[in-house]
Symmetry: C2
Subunit: 335 residues, 2 copies
């Protein structure tokens, strides 16, 4: 591994017969304002081209106190939604010469704090977090150093900038549709209620019942955490209560749905009379014997919106609107 040392600004300057600053100005598009002659400009650019010169990002960062990086903290990269957003964000960043730094918190508050601190040490210019915290104090403090934006999840009633999906209305719509064919029963399986998305989904569920003129029975609502086996257990509980599968069910996440489906499979109930809808959309839902309506987050818009927000904040622009609730997309399969 030969350490072919990179060529520097100084060397380029010498080869082009000008001074370092001239090269620097040209490279940073300041030739205009400084009225650098077209000939020098061309000559310099040729040399730059010839030697395939690339400025050192570290030297620049040191100088400018910017790192040209953006931190993204999400609970889990293997979660399809977060992965999609990460992927889109990475593309946006790259196109602007920024670098996205991705870290996972695994939904642990302690780990989240740790990875954020790591990113801050790296001097990220901005931070985007899908947080598992229940108090935004930690992030509010950070705000003195860099812009912080909440993604997908709101910490309490934090007024920090936020971009997330309108889970409530989509859920309501899906749930009331579930009930349209005169069903008189609809269960809700959810995860940790502390998380803002959970709250919104539950709220939407209740709204949906209301819209269908159905009075909620307390035992219809079950929740534990977003794990497959929790879905399985809730289904088992439900069966015990009813002696049969519920006529309608809304699962607050795909992973819970998996648990439910596994239960049904294990008990030969895949062809029973049950209507299901779920939050999260996966292609596999097109392949199941049960027709399951689903709610898809618009990851492209989420990523785009959050990115624009980041850019604006980095440019120090005054932000008027800081909270964005984006509509979800409903994938109807039952009709």
């Amino acid at each position: 591994m030969k350490e072919k040392k990179r060529i520097t600004l100084a060397e380029i300057a010498k080869k082009a017969g000008v001074s370092k600053s001239t090269v620097s100005f040209i490279l940073n598009g300041k030739s205009e304002s400084l009225r650098i002659s077209e000939t020098t400009r061309k000559r310099v650019l040729e040399v730059v081209e010839e030697y395939n010169y690339r400025p050192s990002i570290h030297a620049r960062s040191l100088q400018s106190k910017r790192s040209y990086t953006v931190g993204l903290v999400i609970p889990d990269l293997t979660n399809f939604g977060f992965a999609s957003i990460a992927k889109e964000l990475e593309k946006h960043c790259r196109e602007d010469g920024l670098q996205l730094l991705i870290a996972c918190s695994e939904d642990s508050q302690a780990l989240e704090k740790k990875v954020v601190e790591h990113l801050v040490e790296r001097q990220v210019d901005a931070l985007i977090v899908g947080s598992a915290m229940i108090d935004d104090q930690f992030y509010v403090k950070l705000t003195h150093q860099l812009p912080v934006i909440q993604l997908d999840r709101q910490i309490g009633n934090s007024i920090l900038p936020l971009v997330c999906t309108d889970a409530c209305n989509a859920t309501a719509k899906v749930v009331s549709q579930l009930l349209s064919s005169d069903n008189q029963e609809c269960y809700f399986f959810g995860g940790q209620l502390e998380l803002s998305p959970s709250k919104q989904r539950l709220k939407g569920y209740k709204l949906g019942l209301q819209q269908a003129n159905l009075v909620l029975k307390p035992n219809w609502i079950k929740h534990a955490d977003y794990q497959s086996h929790s879905g399985y257990k809730m289904m088992a509980e439900c069966m015990k209560e009813l002696g049969r599968p519920p006529s309608c069910l809304f699962t607050a996440s795909y992973i819970l749905l998996e648990g439910v489906l596994r239960y049904l499979r294990d008990h030969q109930l895949l062809n029973c009379d049950i209507r299901i809808a779920t939050f999260d959309d996966y292609h596999i839902l097109d392949c199941l014997p049960i027709e399951i309506d689903s709610i898809a987050q618009d990851c492209t818009s989420l990523a785009q919106t959050v990115y624009i927000l980041v850019k604006n904040m980095l440019n120090g622009e005054e932000i008027s609107k800081t909270q964005y609730i984006l509509p979800a997309k409903i994938c109807w399969r039952s009709r």
Copy 2:
């Protein structure tokens, strides 16, 4: 956003009443070799603690010509396997004070080249690539600047370091099991044959047939690309050829399987007599009416192995073994 400017080494030194180098040495664990007195050491560390001082990574990078970052280029972050590996790698890196920079190539050679160049500009210390290239020349050149490691995919017969899954043997085992109950037919649906994983899976399929003493019929093998609708189309073709579903089928990826399942669903064939096995494991396979054996990559081991390799190369150690073919795990559901 107040730019609370960070405290510097120099200030710490002044506050502790010592010189910059003393602080630097202490912070870099060189107190031993330089026999710095325990008292100064303690005093300095106290000041560091008090002001919560963190060295500037950029200044250090500029100086040391290392960026303390590792680049990871994968085709797609929303692919569960790659996401898992990325997640694990990120953890390993973070624990060592490195930062993982993730970028997606979307399986485009042009884009891959671009993102790699971006990462190289960022002066990543090492590069891990799940490449879509068919020629390793580009990477061999890079080798002069930094260590490059192939992950999951081998470019041609490239002798660059490689960590991947033993798809061949796992596939053979699964295929021969499919055929165990005296089936006389087994189709193979695959993706782009240029990609090394595809080759290995096909090879394994053939080996599996052989082990089951079945003679391959050319029309059993179909391939296009790794997209759901390709799986759908191959299945349609197959139906046309046979007038019925094949008795056995191996899909070379989960995404192709999805297409197949969608076809079966659309044509009310989910309960027909078909045996399927697939590469890639997903939990949802536990929930389907068809019992599908699957092959799971051991992402944890892949990540760990590739990380150890990276570390060794970064330490400039002589690497004796550079090609690692890790066993896959088979998830039996049919028995």
